[in-house]
């Protein structure tokens, strides 16, 4: 029998993966320039600090993905008999904890600034002897932090769905929506320009709230995956119908009378068991091996299936 649990992506998805890896490297280079520029101009604006930390943290999913993608495909071995697929789930979990923690820190920090009435002092720069208020420069940098991010997010999103990869998906989704935080910060800075000192920390609080919201829903998602929840679509559109298709596939096998499935997500793929009541209680082991063989071509996401022959199906789950 072939080694159990070793995944090789289909050729087309291998190309998608190569593309994604390139895009994530581009993301990292781009975010590095964003973070540096923002650091240079942020002065003591709380909104800029918050947006800066958000962008800094935005590098985490890209890094996590690039690290995890190097190892997930290693064949199972004696020490890790189920392979390395799950490192994506672990990376996703770690990233979401970081995001949530940062969001909580920032909301406390920004609220303290607002409550203490600490007013942002924003000076000016001289470019070719023309005096420019630093707030305008901040807004320009925020535009730079928003528009390319949005384009990158749009490019990565469909690829993330194809690869059924949650870190990628949340990374792309967050970047696609990055203009909202950028816009909040811009409004905050413009507000300061109009003499509304509180606009800065209010914008920072709004950005913190959005970080907390993202962090919380990611963490929830990550924990549910690690708790072996039924496979779901990466975009949060509920249960993956692939498992129902698989049930039909089993039911159509000539030697199968009844079948019951139990599947969970493991990184990008699904693993699980099929409980099968055969037509004839004496099933040839070769029938089962054949069925396993056929699954290889069913869908790349279905991996590492155990077929258990039983006289009676386990009780239906509620």
């Amino acid at each position: 029998m072939k080694q159990i649990g070793h995944l090789e992506l289909p050729a087309d998805l291998r190309n998608v993966e190569k593309k994604v890896i390139r895009l994530e490297y581009i993301t990292l280079v781009y975010l590095t320039t964003v973070v540096l520029l923002m650091y240079l101009v942020m002065g003591n604006s709380q909104a800029m600090k918050t947006a800066w930390l958000e962008d800094l943290l935005g590098m985490v999913p890209a890094i996590m993905y690039l690290v995890a993608v190097r190892h997930y495909n290693k064949p199972p071995n004696k020490k890790f008999p189920y392979g390395y697929q799950r490192n994506f789930s672990i990376a996703f979990m770690a990233g979401s904890v970081a995001l949530l923690a940062m969001g909580l820190y920032l909301i406390v920090d920004s609220s303290a600034v607002l409550i203490s009435g600490d007013r942002p002092t924003i000076g000016s720069v001289f470019i070719f002897d023309k005096q420019i208020w630093l707030g305008w420069v901040m807004i320009l940098v925020l535009l730079y932090s928003s528009i390319p991010a949005m384009i990158l997010g749009h490019k990565k999103l469909p690829l993330a769905k194809k690869l059924h990869n949650k870190i990628l998906f949340t990374d792309a989704d967050a970047q696609k929506a990055d203009y909202t935080t950028g816009f909040a910060a811009m409004v905050g800075i413009a507000g300061v320009g109009l003499g509304w000192w509180w606009a800065d920390s209010v914008a920072a609080i709004i950005i913190s709230l959005s970080i907390i919201k993202d962090g919380f829903s990611d963490l929830r998602n990550a924990v549910f995956d690690l708790m072996d929840r039924h496979p779901e679509h990466v975009d949060g559109n509920g249960r993956d119908e692939l498992i129902d298709d698989l049930r039909k596939h089993f039911a159509n096998l000539s030697w199968v009378k009844e079948v019951s499935l139990r599947f969970r997500e493991c990184g990008q793929v699904y693993i699980g068991e099929a409980y099968v009541v055969p037509n004839d209680p004496k099933v040839e082991p070769s029938k089962i091996e054949e069925a396993l063989q056929e699954l290889e071509n069913f869908d790349w996401k279905i991996r590492d299936v155990t077929i258990m022959v039983v006289n009676e199906l386990p009780e239906e789950l509620e």
Partner: protein
């Protein structure tokens, strides 16, 4: 791309709107209508108090600011801790005394860029119009 179009329009609107940045505490506007209240402690050669006369590099800068914007200056003497409290409560508009850029007072006040690469002038936090005008003078002075 639609939101960016709006952002661009908004930015243009804001840029063209004059008087930005504004002071949240109206310090500069009040200095214009009344007088500019400058706290000073003796620290030669930056700020010098001698026989009721005020001289030094920082006083020169303040004079240039006053000249450029047609302001009357009122100097207020006191102890550092007393004057910084007044600055915090916006009872004075500017505080000079040869403070370095790493002075502890920068926690409690806003500051200009270093006019000589090292020293700064203190202003009430967030009074960005006043800061804008002061830095304009500092820039002109540093070229001269």
């Amino acid at each position: 791309m639609k939101p960016f179009f709006k952002i661009a329009l908004l930015s243009i609107f804001f840029v063209s709107a004059c008087g930005i940045p504004k002071d949240p505490g109206e310090t500069f506007a009040q200095a214009k209508s009344k007088h500019l209240k400058v706290g000073i402690v003796d620290n030669p050669p930056y700020a010098v108090i001698e026989d009721g006369k005020y001289t030094g590099i920082e006083v020169t800068l303040i004079n240039e600011l006053a000249l450029k914007n047609n302001l009357k200056i009122e100097f207020i003497e006191g102890s550092e801790s007393n004057l910084i409290k007044k600055l915090e409560h916006r009872e004075i508009d500017i505080f000079i005394g040869g403070f370095g850029k790493k002075s502890v007072w920068t926690e409690k006040a806003g500051s200009t860029t270093e006019y000589d690469g090292e020293h700064i002038i203190l202003i009430p936090k967030g009074e960005n119009r006043l800061l804008f005008e002061l830095e304009s003078v500092i820039n002109q002075h540093s070229k001269a």
